[in-house]
């Protein structure tokens, strides 16, 4: 199975991706994660403005066959959520890195970025899981 993992993103071992732009981070789930879940039918995301610590659950992703959790990759404040996913959760399946992004946050601790995985490290984790 070939999955797409863009080089310009950071990753977590729990299968989130992170795009860092200045002080904000955009977060979603990886192509591998959406494929493991299968057809996504319902997504619950946190409230805008919520302050969340790293590794805390920021939402639930329900597919036809399973439920997955979105874990916050960087501590910070939620500044935007992708509200189109409320009615069109399947976008995460078709475009996990594009219109299927889940939330944007203002991270508060730059050092945490060092703990995120490079694309090479993440690919190794996916290979090990298979």
């Amino acid at each position: 199975m070939d999955y797409e993992f863009p080089d310009n993103l950071k990753y977590t071992k729990t299968h989130e991706w992170v795009r860092i732009e200045d002080k904000t981070a955009t977060v979603g789930i990886t192509d591998y994660a959406q494929h493991q879940l299968g057809d996504i039918v319902y997504i619950e995301l946190p409230e805008k403005g919520a302050n969340l610590e790293r590794q805390k659950s920021a939402g639930e992703i329900e597919s036809v066959k399973a439920v997955g959790e979105l874990l916050i990759p960087l501590s910070g404040k939620i500044i935007e959520i992708n509200s189109t996913l409320v009615d069109n959760p399947e976008v995460v399946n078709s475009s996990p890195y594009g219109s299927g992004w889940m939330l944007k946050l203002e991270y508060k601790n730059e050092l945490e970025i060092n703990d995120l995985l490079s694309v090479e490290d993440y690919k190794r984790i996916v290979e090990e899981e298979n």
């Binding site: 299968g38 057809d39 039918v41 319902y42 036809v64 066959k65 439920v67």
Partner: protein, 342 residues
């Protein structure tokens, strides 16, 4: 692929929703070879089945099949299954994958002095389900019998591209369609012949979402060795069979006449979310039951489920709460089936 009763089975070939929609709009092919197949032969077969099954064999005739349950003395279910009468001395029986060994043993233990021989054909024959509104149109050119002559729940023996097949107009999807059984040597050829008709391969995931929409009980969920057919809403299977003794009869007739303390009901959510098996059901913070099956309905585009709850709350329109992990979501009792085209 997942392990299912010892078989490596695809949950999905592509997407559960796409496979589900293919079966509702044209046709899908399911590999159901994991299910069990027995041949029952002998002069005592009908008398034997009248004793172990709750449905009435007097309603059956040659070339017809019947859905039934076999139950324990306390009315709970050994298995639900379909048997087909080839002639009064020869029946073909299809049972659940996870119950093959248990059923084979249970049946043999209850033959008594009757002239009945049971052969387990599960591993030497393969089984496919071909289901959907276009199943007749797609299948007819491949077979040497007139599909129109096979009514619902009837079957015939014929050939599919020269491969001998057993073909019944039965199914588990809520669509018209067929179930086929044949010797293992023809399996790959028949599978590819059926896929070439335009039908989509469909996996266990779609099989489950289709049967849930159609509200067909699944062993291990709505029925099992601690739930009776009456509790599961299959009271119509419990037949009086005057003058005939059968296992579980006393309690099942009693339950059918007077009702049960718990009953399976249909459920919808009034909030967004998905309910799944074993989630607890509450009414004003008092636990009243649990979800036996739940999920997303691709046809209705909403959450549906079945729950085993106390009878006081069974009326359609009753509001209740379903615990989804750390919170309670509002739900409502609704009528079933959720969706059927047959």
């Amino acid at each position: 692929m997942v392990d299912f009763a010892g078989f490596s089975m695809p949950v999905q070939y592509d997407s559960i929703i796409k496979e589900h929609e293919a079966v509702r709009s044209k046709a899908g092919v399911f590999d159901v070879s994991h299910m069990g197949e027995f041949l029952l032969e002998g002069e005592g077969v009908i008398n034997f089945l009248q004793y172990v099954m709750i449905n009435d064999l007097n309603l059956l005739e040659p070339s017809k099949g019947q859905y039934s349950c076999m139950c324990y003395d306390n009315g709970t279910v050994v298995d639900d299954l379909v048997y087909y009468e080839e002639n009064p001395n020869r029946f073909r029986m299809i049972v659940n994958a996870s119950n093959v060994e248990k059923d084979f043993q249970w049946l043999n233990e209850h033959i008594g002095s009757r002239n009945v021989k049971i052969t387990n054909l599960s591993s030497v024959r393969s089984r496919l389900a071909f289901q959907g509104p276009k199943s007749d149109e797609y299948l007819q050119p491949l077979v040497d019998l007139d599909l129109n002559s096979i009514s619902r729940f009837y079957f015939a023996n014929g050939n599919l591209n020269k491969a001998p097949i057993f073909i019944a107009r039965t199914g588990y999807t809520g669509e018209r369609g067929f179930e086929l059984s044949f010797d293992n040597v023809y399996a790959e050829k028949i599978w590819s012949n059926l896929i070439q008709t335009g039908a989509s391969p469909a996996g266990l995931g779609a099989r489950d979402s289709l049967r849930l929409e159609a509200t067909y009980s699944l062993y291990g969920h709505e029925i099992n060795d601690s739930i009776t057919p009456v509790e599961a809403g299959l009271f119509w299977l419990v037949k009086p069979k005057e003058g005939i003794e059968y296992i579980g009869k006393k309690i099942l007739i009693e339950q059918k006449t007077h009702g049960t303390e718990r009953i399976i009901v249909g459920l919808n959510l009034l909030e967004r979310g998905i309910i799944r098996e074993n989630f607890k059901i509450f009414k004003e913070n008092v636990e009243i039951g649990h979800v036996t099956s739940g999920g997303y309905s691709p046809t209705l585009k909403k959450t549906i489920g079945l729950g085993l709850i106390k009878k006081e709350y069974k009326e359609i329109g009753t509001k209740l709460e379903i615990q989804v992990r750390n919170k309670n979501l509002k739900g409502i009792v609704v009528s079933t089936p959720f969706f059927r085209n047959v």
